[in-house]
């Protein structure tokens, strides 16, 4: 019976272990994670948990007892420092753990502000782990001034939490508009308005020159030369896949740990899933940072580790919660050349991304119907006539019958 070791006890690692057992793997199964908590969900960290609406024990993907019942050796608070591929072992502290098959689910790490501009000062936070959020939470007091660097989903979610808790919130974005990297200007406009309506000051086209403060951050100088006083800073400027361990072991890296369509790395005994991988997709390679992808890819890898050999077919989806708005995204908008707006009732709206006549993606705000229909259409490679989408009277459900 094969011994399987999984490095990284996050979303993908947990899903992989659960699926392996569900599929009947009876061999030894070890899940190693450097964080001190059992596997938990990250999305609430910048939403309900930060807001204080969700307690800690609801974050865990499974109760601690589950791992024991499933016969999964959960080694948390332990970091893997190297992989010896010839000996087929991984090193944890001064111990080595043997494997027959290994899975890498190390996730990613947030980009930090350079030390040279004050990025290392106390009071500067990134939002990746439960520990990050536990340490920043006490800063969220009514009346304090939070500066957010970066107008992506994490930054905007943190801004929404701050505004709801009565903080003064300023958000700076270096690009000409918030969400520029991930969404159309329609979506940016929508969220800019919501945040501005809630009193958040959004400054686009503006970077950070440096931070000031002796023992902790007290101010920021922006790229336009203006200076502001701040109480603390939240940095949301993207992530980088955690590839070092794989790289040092001599595995191929290509914007993430390189996997084939089965989820196998350049070593046939080593597999990978989640944020840390790049995988084949529609003739190119793709890296995705989302819960749905981490679960689906891990589940496919679990099947393949047990011999199924099914290709992974990504069906990208994502959500974000800001104030009373639930954004749901289906598909990938890369390469879109036009965006069709569909107004729902007073509170819902959706933006449909097309490249020529091909539907690529949908951003739906408080419109689960548009999201679900868009998701189905994209997965089935169906592209309705944009004119029909824009037409208020059409029952979108009819589109599924085409």
């Amino acid at each position: 019976m094969t011994d399987i070791v999984i490095i990284g006890a996050g979303q993908a690692g947990a899903s992989l272990a659960i699926k392996l057992r569900a599929l009947g793997h009876e061999g030894k199964l070890t899940l190693i994670g450097e964080e001190s908590s059992p596997p938990y969900q990250r999305p609430p960290l910048s939403k309900g948990f930060l807001l204080g609406e969700m307690e800690l024990d609801r974050l865990y993907l499974r109760p601690l007892s589950f791992w024991e019942e499933q016969g999964v050796t959960l080694q948390i608070g332990e970091q893997v420092s190297s992989i010896e591929r010839t000996a087929k072992t991984v090193r944890v502290g001064d111990k080595t753990i043997p494997y027959d098959q290994l899975a890498l689910t190390m996730g990613s790490q947030p980009r930090c502000l350079p030390e040279s501009i004050g990025g290392g000062l106390p009071g500067v936070y990134t939002v990746r782990t439960l520990a990050d959020v536990e340490t920043m939470k006490p800063e969220f007091h009514r009346g304090r001034h939070m500066l957010i660097v970066g107008g992506g989903y994490i930054g905007l979610e943190a801004a929404a939490v701050g505004a709801k808790l009565g903080l003064k919130v300023t958000l700076i974005e270096m690009a000409p508009r918030i969400l520029q990297r991930v969404a159309a200007s329609e979506t940016s406009d929508y969220f800019r308005k919501i945040h501005t309506d809630h009193g958040v000051q959004i400054i686009e086209n503006t970077g950070l020159a440096r931070l000031s403060g002796d023992t902790r951050v007290t101010g920021a100088v922006l790229s336009d030369g203006s200076e502001i006083d701040v109480d603390f800073i939240v940095v949301g400027v993207g992530i980088a896949p955690l590839t070092l361990l794989a790289e040092e072991a001599g595995l191929v890296i290509e914007n993430g740990i390189h996997t084939d369509e089965l989820g196998r790395t350049s070593d046939p005994n080593i597999w990978a899933a989640g944020d840390c991988t790049s995988f084949p997709h529609r003739g190119g390679r793709l890296r995705l940072e989302s819960v749905g992808h981490a679960i689906d890819q891990a589940e496919t890898v679990a099947q393949n580790m047990l011999g199924a050999m099914v290709p992974y077919c990504a069906k990208p989806w994502f959500w974000s919660d800001q104030y009373d708005v639930k954004l749901q995204i289906a598909g990938l908008n890369t390469g879109y050349d036009r965006v069709i707006t569909r107004k729902g009732d007073s509170e819902s709206i959706s933006f449909w991304y097309y490249k020529g006549d091909t539907l690529l993606a949908v951003d739906a705000m408080n419109d689960a119907r548009a999201y679900m229909i868009g998701k189905r259409l994209i997965e089935a490679d169906k592209s309705p006539d944009p004119a029909i989408i824009a037409e208020l009277g059409t029952d979108l459900r009819m589109l599924l019958k085409i």
């Binding site: 609801r58 109760p63 819960v291 749905g292 959500w319 639930k326 419109d367 689960a368 119907r369």
Partner: protein, 107 residues
């Protein structure tokens, strides 16, 4: 605390106590009951926590909100009356004795 019976598609029954304030989805998750995937962790964003509520209970549950209703329309084989997203159903004493059945699959 409420006693909730989860019936797997194949008929296997799980009777568990779920604390007040948790959701019916969390009750399944925390007791290792298979059949409720709950990919989004309760954000009403994935529709993989779908169940059929026992007919006798349909009217006793708090009403569906619009978002849940719309997500359910596209769940796997939804039933207009009995289907619910378990992450949207909060547990209280009033739910003591609730019976839910899992669909054949979630997607």
């Amino acid at each position: 605390m409420a006693k909730i019976t989860y019936i797997e598609f194949g008929g296997v029954e799980h009777v568990v106590d779920v604390p007040n304030g948790q959701t019916v989805m969390e009750g399944a998750r925390d007791n290792g009951i298979p059949g409720i995937d709950a990919e989004c962790g309760g954000a009403c964003a994935c529709s993989t926590c779908h169940v059929y509520v026992d007919s006798a209970w349909v009217d006793k549950l708090p009403a569906k909100e619009g978002m849940e209703e719309d997500m359910l329309d596209f769940a796997f084989e939804p039933d207009p009356v009995r289907s619910r997203l378990t992450c949207q159903v909060k547990v209280s004493e009033l739910l003591d004795g609730l019976i839910v059945q899992m669909p054949e699959r979630q997607i």
